[in-house]
């Protein structure tokens, strides 16, 4: 057993005292071997982060470890006095947090922050701290490390910051690196860079990584072994490959089924009904029983035991054999309606032509305009009735601004937005107000998009009142109940406050609010990116069903390719304020032509381990839209850049009726 680095036995961490403490971690056992990557997978609120914090003994003041043991090598971490524990943190154990922005102190230089870690944890380098820092910066792939040493965090991009955070964690030459959702806040291309870096560092130094994530794709990409957490317990452990081939626990299986993708287009996604049960109770049965399709009588009143069926593999479930057969097959939707939508000659509902949104940059006391942030710089789109156009791109490419400019929430600088014959950019006052009923928006964060001080009823009624639809009070009441029913919520939800609902339910309320004014086009601004996979599936199902029932058109803004493949009819890929490639889903996803699209698609982690795909690694970050590179905006990062690319921005080349690509490579 000498190759075991970290051993956790029956760890229990409770939050709060009182009569009903929250049992955030309720008896988990796990072992991490030297040099392996161990992934801890689960939805939010399952106790993943609490596990990491318990190992580091950095629990919040209300949390306490009530039982169990944690051994790092031969040391029992829970028995160490605080001053010795401080040496372990950052010494033998390093930690990376989710948000690189808040992990660095903005008033200290990057070098000083890494040097601090070196001074504390690396006794051998006391004489020459600076050299060691530069060495670390080089190790995490930061170009020009001597110069970066003296820079402040705000001068670095998100990906660079996360590299600095990793460098800090490496300063103590840790044997175990705990990474708590290290790439969730990053874009896909940057995520690919960081994951590759972590893998490479692991090979060089032989440290073990405890990777905490909710993303099956990331797991498949880097993990050696996987543990699935649910409601404070580990429900399944398996080597990565075996896990992806035959997930044993119904929960793991459901997770796989709920991932959207091309092959599931005409099906409803499998959803896990309900939510994670509140953890402030003693469970008398299986914690997953209420949401499990294969639930048996025994599940209700006898907690399942840990079943170790092979070395390093185990599952906590009453049914171990024939589990797959019991799981409900995804329900197929009426094939016809989808086909009709795809075959009928599309009549454009919304037409956007050469849309530009420039934000002026003011400087000096007289607020002179010294430049423009070209957030959107000449975008043309078309959305036919009853279809979905997905706008894809990394953060900062201007996709959200396009959505808001179409809604006239931000005044476009130039260009036309035609909606059903009206030119929206020229409408003013009352005429624009009346038009607003036709276009609605659903936001990313369902909590921030509802006034916490209003009842759900008032939230849904707001649009009806503003638009003067829905009749008098009693009629509106009926309509609210009907809308809530349409999005799958009970009518009693109307008299509650938004905070009483879970994330997925809140997003349903937002959909109901948008539907209240009977819109024809809904702009969905990353409506599922703040939600867990299983909940995301619920919302995607809902949106698809509504499209078929009501003939809605969607402008779907997202960075998630899997969602695009599942839901969209057409795709537009944006880079730095411009559309670089446009076409139907099949055209773009199967045969990307623009080098950026190719790189973007290849960077998306796929939930299939060992899938050998051609990887295109993009170097660097997206340039600032206030100062875009001359010529093709993409050429500084483009692996196939030519000299001509620096000269002028390539024109859109039409490859078919639906397809257009802006790249010089295609001119030949």
């Amino acid at each position: 057993m000498s190759d075991t680095l970290l051993r956790i036995k029956n760890l229990k961490t409770w939050l709060g005292r009182g009569a009903a403490p929250v049992r955030a971690i309720d008896g988990i056992d796990l072992e991490i071997k030297k040099g392996e990557t161990f992934a801890l997978l689960g939805e939010s609120g399952c106790g993943k982060s609490m596990t990491a914090l318990s190992i580091m003994r950095l629990l919040p003041p209300i949390g306490r470890i009530v039982d169990g043991s944690i051994h790092l090598g031969e040391t029992s971490l829970l028995d160490l006095p605080e001053n010795r524990m401080r040496n372990e943190r950052g010494g033998r154990m390093g930690m990376i947090f989710q948000e690189p922005m808040t992990s660095l102190n903005p008033v200290l230089t990057v070098g000083a922050q890494i040097a601090e870690a070196v001074r504390i944890h690396d006794a051998s380098q006391q004489q020459d701290v600076e050299t060691r820092v530069v060495e670390l910066l080089k190790a995490v792939g930061i170009p020009d490390p001597e110069q970066r040493f003296g820079e402040y965090p705000h001068q670095l991009s998100g990906g660079m910051k996360q590299r600095v955070v990793i460098a800090m964690a490496l300063a103590g030459r840790p044997q175990l690196l705990i990474a708590d959702e290290p790439t969730t806040a990053l874009d896909v291309t940057i995520q690919a860079q960081v994951l590759a870096l972590m893998k490479q560092l692991q090979q060089e130094s032989g440290m073990a990584i405890l990777l905490i994530t909710h993303d099956l794709g990331v797991v498949a990409e880097v993990a050696d072994r996987v543990a699935v957490m649910y409601a404070g317990q580990i429900v399944e452990t398996a080597p990565c490959k075996a896990f992806f081939q035959t997930p044993r626990h119904p929960y793991s299986q459901k997770l796989f089924h709920s991932i959207p993708g091309r092959d599931k287009r005409s099906e409803r996604l499998a959803v896990i009904e309900g939510t994670v049960p509140p953890l402030d109770q003693e469970f008398s049965g299986c914690r997953f029983a209420d949401r499990c399709d294969a639930v048996m009588l025994i599940c209700r009143h006898q907690p399942p035991q840990w079943d170790q069926y092979a070395e390093g593999q185990g599952v906590r479930c009453h049914l171990q054999e024939g589990a797959e057969a019991a799981v409900e097959q995804p329900v197929s939707l009426g094939e016809g309606s989808v086909a009709v939508a795809e075959n009928s000659p599309p009549t454009p509902l919304l037409g956007v032509n050469d849309l530009k949104v420039h934000f002026p940059i003011h400087k000096g006391i007289f607020r002179r305009v010294v430049g423009h942030v070209r957030a959107v710089d000449g975008v043309s789109l078309e959305i036919p009735v009853g279809q979905t156009l997905a706008v894809v791109g990394e953060s900062g490419c201007g996709k959200t601004t396009v959505g808001k400019a179409i809604l006239q929430l931000i005044k476009p600088t130039a260009g036309q937005v035609r909606f059903d014959g009206d030119e929206l950019t020229r409408l003013r006052g009352e005429a624009l107000r009346r038009r607003r009923a036709d276009l609605q928006i659903i936001f990313q964060d369902p909590m921030a998009s509802m006034n916490p001080r209003m009842l759900v009823r008032n939230i849904i009624e707001e649009g009806m009142l503003a638009q003067g639809v829905g009749g008098h009070a009693a009629e509106r009441q009926i309509r609210v109940a009907q809308l809530l029913g349409q999005v799958g919520l009970p009518a009693s939800a109307a008299d509650r406050y938004p905070h009483e609902f879970s994330g997925g339910q809140r997003q349903r309320i937002c959909v109901a609010r948008a539907l209240a004014v009977e819109p024809r086009l809904i702009i969905c601004d990353e409506p599922t990116s703040a939600l867990d996979v299983s909940v995301q599936a619920q919302i995607l199902n809902l949106l698809q069903a509504l499209q078929q029932q009501l003939g809605l058109s969607y402008l779907f803004i997202t960075h998630d390719i899997a969602v695009v493949a599942y839901l969209a009819h057409e795709v537009a890929v944006m880079y730095l304020g411009r559309v670089v490639e446009r076409g139907t889903v099949a055209e773009v996803l199967d045969d990307p032509q623009h080098p950026y699209t190719q790189a973007l698609l290849s960077a998306v982690p796929v939930a299939e381990p060992g899938g050998k795909r051609k990887r295109i690694h993009l170097e660097g970050d997206m340039p600032s839209p206030s100062n875009p590179p001359a010529g093709c905006h993409f050429h500084p990062r483009c692996p196939q850049a030519m000299e001509r690319c620096q000269k002028s921005y390539p024109k859109a080349i039409s490859l078919s009726e639906t397809r257009a690509v802006s790249c010089l490579l295609l001119e030949q």
């Binding site: 609605q440 509802m450 006034n451």
Partner: protein, 470 residues
């Protein structure tokens, strides 16, 4: 019938009370407003402070009901039936304190004056000695022998009365609580004693007990003696300090009432509309806050002074004149102090207007005014609440400072600032007269401390960052 007189500040105080009641009624029906106040009601510190504050408010409100008393039968004529003097309900209750005026300084609980005078004795001889007070301890035959035991006995009687009153009040409240909870009286008593109740009744009762104790002992002693001594013209200092309570409260509350509309309106407008509206409002408040406040106050008060002197006939009584000056001081303090809140609200609104629900409302075509009233105002109300409560104690202290440099309230008006101002000379006297200053300081200190503790509790309850912790 005495004739009711409503002074400007009285009217505003009652308006304020009406507004608070209205807000309370509104808050009771909305969970998001009720929840933080419920957590204030659970804070021990907050409720203890609230009991003290209520005592002050009671005194202040009683002092805000003004009337002109009827003249005695003999002096009445056909036209003039009421006295020219304006009194308040508090004056009426404190008549024994108000009317028993000595000649000059006397120490607390003294039986003799503080300075020697020539006294003509029965046998025609004149001696220089401390003369007996006209009212203080006048019932004593031989002050030297009887004084100590009389003071102790009076105090003990006061304690007994306080105990009785306390038991009565506590009994009534406990019985009411027991009925509401549906348990027996003694069960409820045990609950309170072990402080297992939601609202910290034990703390409330203890503070109430202390308060009643002080009140009854002071009441009993105050009738027989001058509990806190007398000032230069022989007026009872206890009476003066009690009258000063209203001045402090008026300054602390009316100023915020006056500045609130401007601060809320301007702050939200600047943050919501941005552009040139924001520029104009920002210029106004940066300009205003760069003028030294004291200078502005001094100029305004002096201008008012000149106006009053030129139009002396417009004021029926000294009280009305002093009242107008007090109101003016509130207004000018309000004008100089709205900028802080305005700036806070502007920042918060800038943040809120970018939130998705405001954008969603705009996407529905909801009007600007409705968005402000429905989405912005309720979400900045906690900031308003916190800053009002926090400002209160600062304003009470500001009054004292301003009166000290004699640009505060009218010199004829009772205020702690004026008392401290006159103590300047008393402190220079030999032997020194300390009780005026001490009385003003003790009363002011208690009020400000209670207000600060209460505002702490309010801030904790409304602070969204702390809310998750409980």
């Amino acid at each position: 019938m005495p004739e009711l007189v409503v002074l400007w500040t009285d009217a505003l105080i009652f308006l304020l009370i009406a507004l608070v009641l209205l807000f309370g009624h509104l808050a009771a029906s909305r969970e998001h407003l009720r929840a933080p106040w419920r957590s204030v009601a659970r804070s021990r510190m907050g409720m203890g402070a609230l009991v003290i504050l209520s005592a002050y408010v009671l005194i202040g409100v009683m002092d805000s009901v003004h009337y002109k008393p009827l003249l005695p039968e003999a002096e009445r004529t056909a036209e003039v039936t009421h006295s020219n003097e304006v009194l308040s309900l508090l004056d009426y209750l404190l008549t024994p304190l108000r009317e028993r005026q000595e000649k000059t300084y006397s120490a607390p609980l003294a039986t003799h004056l503080y300075s020697k005078e020539s006294i003509e004795q029965a046998d025609g001889q004149t001696v220089r000695d401390y003369p007996r007070l006209k009212y203080g301890g006048a019932h004593l035959q031989d002050p030297q022998q009887e004084w100590a035991s009389d003071v102790v006995w009076t105090a003990i009687i006061g304690v007994q009365e306080a105990l009785l009153a306390w038991l009565l009040v506590v009994g009534i409240i406990t019985a009411w609580l027991a009925r509401r909870a549906g348990c027996t009286f003694f069960q409820q008593c045990r609950q309170i004693l072990c402080s297992r109740t939601d609202i910290p009744w034990r703390v409330i009762f203890i503070v109430l007990g202390a308060l009643l104790l002080v009140a009854f002992v002071a009441g009993n002693l105050g009738i027989k003696y001058h509990l806190l001594g007398t000032d230069k013209v022989g007026e009872d200092v206890l009476y003066q300090t009690l009258k000063s309570v209203r001045t402090g409260l008026v300054i602390g509350t009316l100023t915020t009432l006056i500045m609130l509309p401007a601060a809320i309106l301007m702050g939200i407008m600047a943050g919501y509309f941005r552009g040139w509206v924001d520029d104009v409002i920002q210029y106004i408040y940066t300009t205003l806050s760069s003028i030294p406040g004291v200078l502005l106050i001094a100029a305004a008060i002096l201008m008012l002074h000149v106006y009053m002197n030129n139009h002396a006939d417009e004021f029926n009584s000294l009280v009305e004149r002093a009242d107008l000056r007090l109101l003016f001081l509130c207004i000018i303090l309000g004008i100089t102090s709205w900028t802080g809140l305005c700036r806070l609200l502007r920042g918060e609104t800038l943040k809120l207007r970018e939130l998705d629900y405001v954008q969603a409302a705009q996407a529905f075509g909801v009007g600007h005014f409705t968005i402000i009233m429905r989405h912005i105002l309720p979400n900045v109300l906690h900031i308003v609440m916190i800053s009002v409560v926090l400002d209160f104690s600062g304003l009470v202290l500001a009054e004292a400072v301003l009166s000290y440099v004699s640009i505060g309230v009218d010199p004829t008006m009772n205020s702690w600032g004026n008392m401290i101002n006159s103590a300047r000379l008393e402190m220079a006297r030999e032997p020194i007269v300390w009780w005026s200053l001490a009385a003003a300081l003790i009363f002011m200190f208690t009020l400000v401390l209670a207000a600060n503790l209460f505002s702490d509790a309010v801030r904790d309850a409304f602070d969204p960052r702390l809310r998750g912790g409980r």
